[in-house]
């Protein structure tokens, strides 16, 4: 798909449209000219009979054939228009609903999902408007208040105020440490650097003593570097640890805070709606491709238990282990679990049973030619 070709085709359309427009103006001017000429003649006390003038005018206009003149440019414009339509249909998939199953999504569930999405993205006004337009009950009230808190903290951080963030981190410091997060230290460091930036060495020192000290045992190096920055108060640009005093830290710490906040309240970091749509974007091309081949079998499509084509999603969509037996190409399940053989290679239980003729003989592993005794294979748990 060459976007440049498509843009060129559109430029042609715009050009033809301009031509058509100016031709139309031209033609109208011609008509006006003729009528005005006739008008002049009639108004002036000429010897020509009025009726004659008018008949002449009628004949002139017929000769000019204004609509006929326009036909040429119109035709060219129509050709350009239909060419553009064709190039769109060729370069893009004209019907992405081909792989759609006729299953009704429950509107309420979808509305709930959308409302939650708005609130967790911080689009509170839009969310409220949506709830009132859909007349959904306040089912998303819980999500709303959770994320309102989070966005208040983030908004404050955006305007340079770390107080709410620090308060929240302090209140949740146990859970944060459990998660292995040093968010509290990071926030205090930000505050420390800001105090330094404003120039007050004593204040910064006082702050460090009160707030950085408790973390000293676990983060010796970092704190040493931070304290060293005291020397460069008011001249932080020249400090030897630019990454410690950089403004981008605010962004990274905000991200860390978002991640920890979501984790602590039992929410995912990414909006589930965004994740699902992104997965859909990756899944649609192979599904649609399959549908063009499958054409007649719409019935089967509506009722299958498993997708007929593999859809390989990116790493970020892998939440569960999938093991595909290299022999049978089937996904393992509780009924047919993966088994490790004595050589270290793994097959699914059904394949092992088949190859060993139900444990009646040894077989050779398809990867390394070691002899395998089915009874010695162990089940694996991911």
């Amino acid at each position: 798909m060459e976007l440049n070709d498509i843009k060129d085709a559109f430029d042609r359309v715009a050009k033809k449209q301009k031509l058509s427009c100016s031709k139309t103006q031209e033609v109208i001017d011609l008509i006006v000219q003729e009528i005005e000429k006739a008008l002049e003649t009639v108004k002036s006390a000429s010897h020509l009979d009025d009726k004659y003038v008018l008949t002449e005018l009628k004949r002139r206009l017929q000769d000019i054939a204004p609509l006929g003149q326009l036909e040429g440019t119109q035709k060219e414009l129509n050709i350009a228009l239909s060419k553009y339509t064709k190039i769109l249909e060729k370069s893009f998939n004209p019907d992405i609903s081909k792989a759609y199953r006729n299953i009704e999504f429950d509107t309420h569930t979808v509305s709930q999902i959308i409302a939650s999405h708005f609130y967790r993205q911080g689009l509170f006004e839009v969310g409220d408007c949506f709830i009132s337009e859909t007349k959904e009950s306040e089912c998303s009230a819980a999500i709303l208040s959770i994320f309102e808190d989070m966005y208040q903290i983030l908004e404050a951080m955006k305007s340079g105020n770390l107080e709410p963030a620090l308060k929240w981190a302090a209140a949740n410091s146990d859970k944060l440490t459990q998660n292995g997060s040093d968010l509290q230290l990071k926030l205090h460091s930000l505050q420390f650097v800001e105090i330094l930036r404003k120039g007050s060495r004593e204040e910064a020192l006082k702050y460090a003593r009160a707030n950085l000290a408790p973390f000293a045992s676990n983060h010796v190096n970092e704190i040493q570097k931070l304290m060293a920055c005291l020397i460069w108060a008011r001249k932080l640009e020249s400090c030897p640890y630019p990454q410690l005093v950089s403004q981008t830290n605010w962004v990274t710490v905000a991200e860390e805070l978002t991640r920890q906040f979501c984790n602590l309240v039992g929410q995912s970091y990414e909006s589930p709606l965004s994740v699902t749509i992104a997965a859909g974007v990756q899944a649609l091309p192979p599904l649609l491709k399959f549908m063009t081949v499958m054409a007649g079998k719409k019935q089967e499509w509506q009722s299958m238990k498993q997708l007929p084509v593999p859809v390989e999603l990116d790493k970020e969509f892998q939440f569960h282990s999938i093991f595909v037996c290299p022999v049978s190409k089937e996904q393992t399940s509780d009924d047919n679990p993966p088994m490790i053989m004595s050589c270290g290679h793994v097959l699914c239980r059904q394949s092992i049973n088949k190859m060993s003729k139900n444990h009646s003989r040894t077989f050779k592993c398809p990867y390394c030619p070691s002899d395998i005794d089915a009874a010695q294979c162990r089940q694996l748990y991911f």
């Binding site: 798909m1 228009l81 995912s268 699902t276 749509i277 290679h345 748990y381």
Partner: protein, 392 residues
């Protein structure tokens, strides 16, 4: 605790990767980002088609108005020149009025051209938006796509306020089709008020294209008007109406025509089920649905909201039996009740390549962080195993 650190057939320290690692299975590395992006862009037909259809329609309408006016002026001149009783003053007045009509037409043409230009700009803006997608701004571009999909949903469900608010909040007015749907809103509101006039006007505006697609929507509107006349017991008017507006459709839709005509024999409170159905107020809802379908088809839009299409594909691709277990990670959308509900009638995903996720760290176990088998058969990532060794 003893541990097989390298669960392979040979006991050598360095080992070839097991068949459980994705690299050995071959080809599990995802499409290079560029191909993936191109495939994603190919899904955006509607995005480019809708403003283009709108642009085409404006061009057509404007041109028709010009044609009509020019024809009228010329035939006017013909009338004047052919008529017998025209005084000089009459002639002058007439010609002057024709000139001012043409001047007015020129102004209208200017205005129309400006509108067409704006619409062309919108088409271009969308082409530029597609072009702007690249590796650096992918996260933001994807975010915009989610918003576009949501605005499409809002417009289809007639939540116009939310659609506008959402579009404004991220400045994506050029990337969504609010005006196009406003046009539909007029017709839909009228139909919900049991008025067919705007719908009929829409049909006449789009006559040629509806005819090409063999649409019978206009016929259905006329039938409904007929039913309303019968309901109001205006039987004579109903018959006149039928003669004028329903008869032309008789050739292609005789059966339906006959069925509706038969209502003349019944009253609107008839108990006979076949005809009772025709008098139901639900018929108006059916007309609204029909209109929405015709409308979407005309503009090159999918019949279902984009949201449903993407959700269905995404849910299916993410759907595994493991998602429904209690310990499913929160990052999986299918750990949520609402998503599970939507996904339950959908098929499971299918994969041809193994992908193993460490139970503890939730990270993918690949060649850089290979899986290790513990003596009890449980598999964890190398990182976790090293950690276990350290703390033991």
């Amino acid at each position: 605790m003893e541990m097989d650190s390298l669960p392979n057939g040979n006991s050598a320290a360095a080992s070839p990767p097991q068949n459980t690692t994705p690299a050995a299975a071959g080809g599990t590395t995802p499409f290079p980002k560029l191909t993936q992006l191109t495939e994603a862009l190919k899904l955006e037909h509607q995005f480019l088609r809708v403003p283009f259809e709108h642009y085409k329609k404006t061009i057509r309408t404007n041109h028709r108005a010009v044609e009509k006016e020019i024809t009228s002026v010329i035939s006017n001149v013909a009338d004047v020149s052919d008529s017998e009783n025209f005084s000089k003053d009459d002639a002058v007045n007439h010609l002057t009025s024709l000139v001012s009509r043409l001047q007015g037409l020129k102004r209208k043409l200017e205005e129309g051209s400006r509108t067409e230009h704006l619409q062309a700009q919108k088409c271009r803006a969308r082409l530029n938006h597609l072009e702007s997608a690249d590796a650096e701004n992918l996260a933001e571009w994807n975010n915009t796509r989610v918003k576009r999909i949501l605005v499409d949903y809002m417009l289809r469900m007639s939540y116009y306020e939310t659609a506008e608010k959402l579009a404004e909040s991220s400045n994506i007015q050029d990337l969504v089709d609010i005006e196009v749907f406003q046009e539909a809103k007029k017709v839909i509101d009228a139909l919900q008020n049991k008025e067919v006039a705007p719908a009929l006007a829409w049909c006449s505006d789009n006559k040629s294209r509806l005819k090409k697609s063999k649409s019978k929507f206009e016929f259905q509107l006329r039938l409904q008007e007929f039913i309303e006349l019968v309901r109001g017991e205006n039987n004579l008017r109903a018959i006149t109406y039928a003669r004028k507006y329903l008869a032309p459709w008789g050739a292609t839709h005789m059966k339906e025509l006959q069925r509706v005509m038969a209502t003349l024999a019944f009253k609107s409170n008839t108990e006979c089920t076949t005809y009772k159905a025709l008098f139901e107020p639900k018929q108006w809802d059916f007309l609204v649905d029909q209109f929405k379908q015709e409308f979407c088809k005309l503009y090159g839009m999918t019949l279902e909201p984009l949201l449903n299409i993407y959700l269905q594909a995404g849910l299916s691709a993410l759907n595994t039996p493991y998602c429904y277990e209690d310990d499913c990670t929160k990052e999986d959308p299918l750990s949520q009740e609402s998503f599970r509900k939507l996904a339950s009638p959908l098929p499971y995903s299918k994969q041809h390549h193994s992908k193993l996720v460490c139970y503890i760290t939730k990270e993918l176990m690949d060649t850089e962080n290979p899986p290790q088998v513990l003596p009890n058969g449980y598999v964890y990532s190398t990182k976790v195993c090293i950690f276990l060794v350290i703390i033991m």
